[in-house]
Symmetry: C2
Subunit: 349 residues, 2 copies
DNA sequence: CTGAAAGCGCTAACAC
DNA sequence: GTGTTAGCGCTTTCAG
């Protein structure tokens, strides 16, 4: 162990043990210790074991900072977001964390809270921290957001909401496909009169989901009911109103696709209140597969999942590929979606 | 250095500009440039301006890594959590980010996903990254969680859920007080027959909120109705069942306190379905002030806010105080709560 | 008031 | 196989 630290601090935390300590204990040079610990270079198994044992004994933790300084990589990616609720960003973060496998990537998460000045500030801080790359998670809107610019010193991937600049790489949920999947599912269940409850029509997420569903039905020669509303929002209040109107116009519909889970929840309530059984009389599909909502509707809600965790993994993967010399790519790439079937379309057995 | 890199990068990113570049352009030494940029030491305003101008011209971004290596601080705190939903951790993170003011603190967020092995692994990674301190955010339970141990090289604060080790410092929402505040609010509104809808009674959050409300009413000589249930959970389904039972036992109650916002929502629905007006006949108060829920009940829900952002700021503040030499402290510290009044207790004008 | 130089802990050439 | 020697970019004595 080391000698006593004479400048005893209030509660002296021990000096971190360094590679030099390990090397000394193992009776080798720092270089050898480094190689042994990183599995680089050939060396006698005996020496390697001795070093590893020494490191273990001292509970040696290599300094990522020093390592970075020496080789220019931090294994850290930044996430810049405005998603105050964390609904979108948390799964994306978890995916990014996993991109390189256990413990190889860390994520610095910063929330700009919708403030552009703050965003620049945080970008600056992230760059100072020598992040290897940056994921910009838009939201709550999925509409294009301003680009951070082309001359950043690290690869940048926009996720969830795309960048306005087509030269940037953006990963976006395939909302059209999401709508299609919802409609196809209902069609396969024999539903022929499918209505739509949209959210705020200024959000492209709402319009695209609607368009996807309409397109799928059109291919079967059917029509999506209740489309084309020019107003609306994402509240359950609106969902109730929209569902009510839809039922007035089409009292005989047998399925509803909602642009979000919350709207679907509202629709289910209206259906029940008007004496319709879900899913027997009317089947309901939501969007986002948000656990808080889908588990609390009665019956539980079938929903289209945006697979944000996969998106996060892909985003981080692209960043590391780019650092390895591959082209980052540009433009909008659509990411896959999944249908999660629950009781609101297929009765629980 | 040496020869040209033969695996010529696809798109060579320019070398970052360093302090040496700035110093050269300004015609001073690195030392002077450093002092100028950090506002340390006395120097002629003229020199300082020249350096600052040079830095601006080169868009100089200091390397936090190098700086850390030189002075042993990263300005980074780690957050270790199991809160997959991000409900608790996001506000705490935002508070921590703000603790030292704009851009001075970064937060590395890691989610162990409830896996103890993964947690050790992530702790290790965080320590390698030379975090200045660690915030362990428990959840979803607020019950004590296992300590990470006493011999960590950085200050650790447990937030939201306390550590089992009384020697650790834990910051916990004052749930007893939260219950009291809810009850006092109702009492002041003239409500005298107050019922309680609890969640999972194995969660101390549920029991403490109940105890707080009961205590406040007891001081007024009243009793909290419907307490002491030995089963239950946090689903809306249970909330409906519990509210229904409560109304059977006490059909004349004039207020309900629920242990969570979702339970409150369920209670409001049951109240409406049984022909009671909220808040005229029965006032309802929830807990957590979770925006997703409180904005979607009809009327909007009065709720007790745990002020998690403040908790995050406090946690990070304590860490930096400890680094500055103050005692970290230990034991459980309760943090303040706030009542947010909405239409479910006071009718909208 | 400013510059030179010695590290911070680690990695990577390059010797031996 | 293993040790020596430079740095990585910045801060900080210590001289001038």
């Amino acid at each position: 162990m080391g000698s006593v630290d004479s400048r005893d601090a209030v509660r002296a935390r021990p000096r971190r043990t360094t590679l030099a300590d390990v090397a000394r204990l193992a009776g080798v040079s720092k270089a050898t210790a480094s190689r042994a610990l990183n599995g680089r270079g050939e060396m006698s198994a005996e020496t390697r074991d001795r070093v590893v044992a020494a490191a273990a004994e001292l509970a040696f933790t290599p300094s990522a900072m020093a390592r970075n300084l020496a080789n220019g990589r931090t294994g850290t990616v930044g996430i810049l977001t405005n998603d105050l609720e964390g609904r979108f960003v948390i799964p994306i973060l978890m995916g990014a964390e996993d991109a390189l496998g256990a413990g190889r990537t860390s994520v610095i998460l910063t929330d700009a809270r919708g403030d552009a000045v703050r965003e620049r500030q945080q970008l600056r801080t992230l760059l100072e921290r020598q992040i290897d790359g940056l994921i910009v998670v838009g939201g709550p809107r999925t509409d294009p957001r301003p680009s951070l610019g082309r001359d950043l010193p690290v690869p940048v991937v926009y996720a969830y909401a795309p960048s306005e600049d087509p030269d940037d790489l953006s990963l976006v949920v395939d909302n059209v496909r999401a709508g299609r999947i919802a409609a196809e599912h209902l069609w396969e269940l024999g539903r022929r009169r499918v209505g739509f409850v949209g959210g705020d029509p200024t959000y492209c997420a709402s319009r695209e989901r609607e368009a996807g569903a309409a397109a799928a039905l059109a291919e079967h020669g059917a029509e999506l009911l209740g489309t084309g509303l020019r107003s609306g929002d994402w509240t359950e209040r609106w969902g109730r109103a929209a569902a009510g109107r839809l039922l007035e116009l089409h009292p005989d519909l047998d399925a509803v696709i909602a642009a979000s889970d919350q709207l679907a929840r509202a629709a289910i309530e209206v259906l029940r209140e008007t004496g319709r059984a879900v899913p027997e009389d009317v089947a309901v599909v939501g969007h986002d597969n948000w656990s808080v909502v889908v588990a609390n509707t009665r019956p539980e809600l079938t929903s289209v999942d945006g697979r944000l965790e996969t998106m996060g993994r892909t985003a981080a993967g692209r960043i590391f590929d780019a650092l390895a010399g591959q082209e980052l790519g540009h433009g909008v790439e659509l990411t896959g979606v999944d249908l999660v079937i629950r009781g609101s379309t297929v009765p629980d057995e």
